[in-house]
């Protein structure tokens, strides 16, 4: 069982379920950051990068029970 807290940051937050910026998710067995997007029904195109444990990781990074994952969606450029 892998439980993670997911926070969403940036302009595309509004396209996540309910426009929420925090989700508590559970996965049976091994999971990657990309699986969070599948569970939330959000396209990979909307997420630029993930920050896990204070470090930037790509979407294939494996999740550990208790991780806090920040999904960075695109900022607006200048």
């Amino acid at each position: 069982m892998v439980r993670v807290v997911v926070r969403v940051v940036g302009h595309a937050r509004e396209f996540f379920p309910g426009g929420r910026d925090r989700f508590d998710l559970e996965f049976d067995g091994a999971a990657r950051v990309a699986d969070i997007l599948t569970k939330l029904g959000v396209g990979r195109a909307l997420v630029m990068t993930a920050v896990v444990g204070g470090r930037r990781r790509d979407l294939d990074h494996p999740l550990t029970d208790g991780d806090e994952v920040i999904l960075m969606t695109p900022p607006s450029g200048g």
Binding site: F15, G43, M48, G78
Partner: protein, 618 residues
Amino acid sequence: MASGKLYGYGGRILRVDLGTGAVRTEPTPESLAREYLGGRGFVAKILWDELPVGVEPFSAGNKVVIASGPMAGLFLPGSGKIEMGTKSPATGLYGEGNMGGHLAGELKFAGYDAVIIEGVSPKPCYVFIDDDRVEVRDASKYWGKGCFEAEKMLKEDLGEDFKVATIGPAGENLVVYAVVSHDFGRQVGRTGVGAVLGHMKVKAIAVRGSRGFEVADPAGVLKKGKEMYEACFAKPGFDEWTPYGTAGVTDWVNEICAFPTKNFQTGYYERHKAINGQTLKERICILDKGCTGCPIPCGKYSRFEFSGKTYYVEGPEYETIALMGGNLLLENIEDVAYVNYVADELGLDTISGGSVVAFTLECLEKGVLTPAEVGRELRWGDPEGVAWLLERIARREGIGDVLALGVKKAAERFGKGSERFAMHVKGLEVSGYESRYAPAMMLAYMTADIGAHHNRAWAITYDAAVGQDKTEGKAWKVIELQHIRPLFDALGLCRLQWVEIGFELSHYADMFPLVTGWEYSWEDLLKISERIWNLTRCFNKREKPDFGRVYDLPPLRWMEEPLPSGAGQGRCMPRDKAEKMLDEYYSLRGWDSNGLPTKGKLQELGLGFVLERLKLES
């Protein structure tokens, strides 16, 4: 017009007549403030009211309006934005640019909400504002200097606490995409406001204010301000976003095939990682630099070496990485920073400037121009060649004289099919999003009031969310963004707290009555934004009798040339599809089929006076 006590405002409008050197102040009209708020609202209404119809941008009849807003200069996140507008020499239409820094607040601290600069000065001058003391002063010692050099000199002469805005040689020489520069790295970039000031012979504006201004409920504003900062501090993105600033979006834009590459020939640049936010941060950034009140400073002040010399520049931020990096195939961040520095000191827009250089390189590639005509062998990816061309443009030398007019007019002069790759809408060069695989973003570019600029509606995430091929059903989103985003430009606020870290819009709605004492809801404010949107549309119609749908079409490259590669391969926006998007857009806006506001829409928005003006002149 009645002028009651205005809370949240500096209280006066300053009028500077350069012909006579006379300076007048008038109280800020309450009706103007209530109906148009400030910033872009003041710019639009004053230009509508005061510019003679059909005035030439480079004539004594044009004006520059500089306007702060009721939420600028406050203890709240992102209260540092100022607008400057004029009739644009680039487009012949409504021109307006926005910048951060510290001028918006300082103008109000001196007791002013706006400055209207009119006429032409016989000699180079600068406008000196020190609370009530306002003078038009001789600027001969600063004329000819770069933007940063002139700002530094003025601060040394007047005091470091003066907030200074300058034009550079590009503005002095009427390059139609010349900027107004401020705070060593912020610019009013688009539509050539710097060129109009250059024509007026205004080198700079220097402001110091010590009066402060009053808010309706000081204890409430302080308490709410603290709440707003605490809300920002607690956002998950607060620590993550700042290090890269806007440059942080570079990789993502490449992934969705929207990165301007080689004059918008494609949407993906293989070397994007060498010029992205992470590289900027790791290699050259020395300071996170911010505007008034900002908790997430987007400015990336950098120090770097180029050809054995050390340079300082604020940037490059995303737009410059796009239009001067990918668009010119520059290979590393130092090269992009160098051309950024050159453009900034010369005082020309990195977006339009980057587009003009790319256009020139493609003209050479396709034989529209020869190296002899250009004056030098130029190639993609060569920062020194770029710098050379920018200098020629700023000094109006050789080919630079035509290129100083922008890609639309340059293509008209050069012919030979070059209009097919002149990347502009309405005469304003497209900014940082290749949009053949992003129809909502393309519609945003087509319908922005000043021409192809993204600040009105950054719709590209909507494309990513609902599908990058879908062209129908997107107009509503573009319209929604075109009301929300420019509202910030009328209030004197920065959008990035909301856009980047999810700071809730309701905070601004709660703060507004505490500042002004006016019980406006967020919907009331959005209505004013819609009013301003329709007013600038009518201004364009007034200035160009044939204004309408045909001005809203995308660049020919986007209509005729499918993307040759990448995730968006094969996509483009044929004219009939573009027109269908416009049909949907006009209909939702309450505009007629030619894209002009209907009588009913104008009356609904309190713009009945427009009807009378347009009727009189038609």
